[in-house]
Amino acid sequence: MANVMTARNLRLYYGKHEALHGIDLDFPKQKITALIGPSGSGKSTFLRCMNRMNDLVAGVTITGSLKLDNKDIYSPKTDVVDLRKRVGMVFQQPNPFPFSVFDNVAFGLRLAGIKDRALIQERVETSLKQAAVWDEVKDKLNENALAFSGGQQQRICIARVLAVQPEIILMDEPTSALDPVSAGKIEDLLLSIQDKFTIAIVTHNMQQASRISDQTAFFLDGKLVEVGSTKQLFMAPQKEETSDYLNGKFG
């Protein structure tokens, strides 16, 4: 299986302090990769490298390589707006724009210069369906997205990401601010779209990682301790630290 994104010896420094110590990690196409580890282990920092969200943090330097379809995203030639269209992101707190559901989901398309109304209409509908929120919003597309529940807002945000048809979707604890039922809906939707998208998800919820991911990467103190198939990692991890973390002995 081809890899959509590949990190090699990726190091990130805050000033002189090295926060990521040479990460090698592949993201196989149309697979869900879970990044787990205690707070401060570097998993979110790593995730943010994947669409250059750390660019604007003062004093950050990055070395090594991070390739999207074999092209280094940190190359000076990379257009960051284009990169973020190809590498979408969903955050912990739902962050819809303060305008209508329709305009939220159409936002990325319009930004990308698409003017064909019929196409936009169709993409909005498809994306909302893929995000498993269509039935709940179809009669309220012109209502302000902020008027919906947290779980619905998060699915609208996911639809917004799906609309631009990214190659990889980054999710930073997308369900930790939601109740279990809403979280379950998002897990279901991730499983249902995984044949079309590649997903990297940071989660503190071990059950979530084990239920939905194909591959799991365990981070600790800025290092990638272990990566493997989720089945193997959860049933017989190679490293003692992984086993201890999964069993709640630390973190």
Binding site: G184, D188, L191, S210, R211, T230, K231
Partner: protein, 225 residues
């Protein structure tokens, strides 16, 4: 999420039932090979046991994966546990069928006692219908049916005690039947143990339904009676 777990569970139960049918067939063929002195059939039972063992390993592997990745609790948890426990009972039943088949191969035209062979044939039929009933109770989660099976097992214990008594009596009277009778004792005791494993499966059916671990037939070993 529920969907995936339920589908996997359904598949697992289906495989368990399939394994049960294979095991029932193995008992039938093993016993037939013994009564008919059919060594080729006995050999088939022994070879086929590999498949039963593999079926059990696959079931265990999938059940363990569901436990580790889906982390079920309460009723879902019990469902997985019973697959694990009951499939190892089925596997043991398969081993006892092999034991019977091995006795068939050991037989060397010894003097036969038709009356005891009839008893063994009847025990086989009873054990097989118990197995079919327990598989049915398993699928239907039928606690009442499962309890009936444990009662039926007491009949198997009695039948075993009866065969044992008769065989020993024969051996006392006629030393020519001793070698063959040793096989009768072995085969009857395999069938008796098969009954115990079926009874165990019945206990898992009850556990699945109620959450209580129950010994349905305490102290039923005929040796202790």
């Amino acid at each position: 999420m529920r969907g995936i777990f339920e589908d996997e569970l359904k598949r697992l139960h289906g495989k368990f039932t399939e394994m049960g049918i294979n095991v029932s067939e193995a008992i039938y063929r093993a016993s037939k090979s013994f009564i008919d002195h059919d060594k080729a059939l006995a050999q088939q039972v022994i070879e086929h046991d590999e498949e039963i063992n593999e079926e059990e390993i696959k079931l265990e592997d999938e059940a363990l994966m569901l436990i580790a990745l889906q982390q079920p609790v309460a009723a879902d948890f019990r469902q997985i546990i019973i697959v694990l426990k009951a499939s190892s009972d089925l596997e043991r039943i398969g081993d006892h069928a092999v034991g019977i088949a091995r006795e068939s191969i050991e037989l060397k035209g010894e003097q036969r006692v038709p009356e005891i062979e009839d008893d063994i044939g009847e025990m086989t039929n009873n054990v097989r219908s118990m197995l079919e009933e327990v598989l049915d109770a398993y699928v239907k989660e039928d606690e009442v049916g499962a309890k009936q099976i444990a009662i039926a097992n007491q009949q198997i214990d009695k039948a075993y005690a009866n065969v044992r008594e008769k065989t020993i009596e024969m051996m006392k009277q006629d030393s020519k039947v001793i070698t063959g009778s040793a096989s009768y004792l072995m085969v009857a005791s395999y069938l008796e143990r098969i009954g115990d494993h079926i009874s165990n499966i019945a206990e898992w059916v009850v556990y699945n339904k109620t959450g209580h671990l129950a010994e349905l037939t305490p102290d039923h070993h005929p040796e202790e009676n």
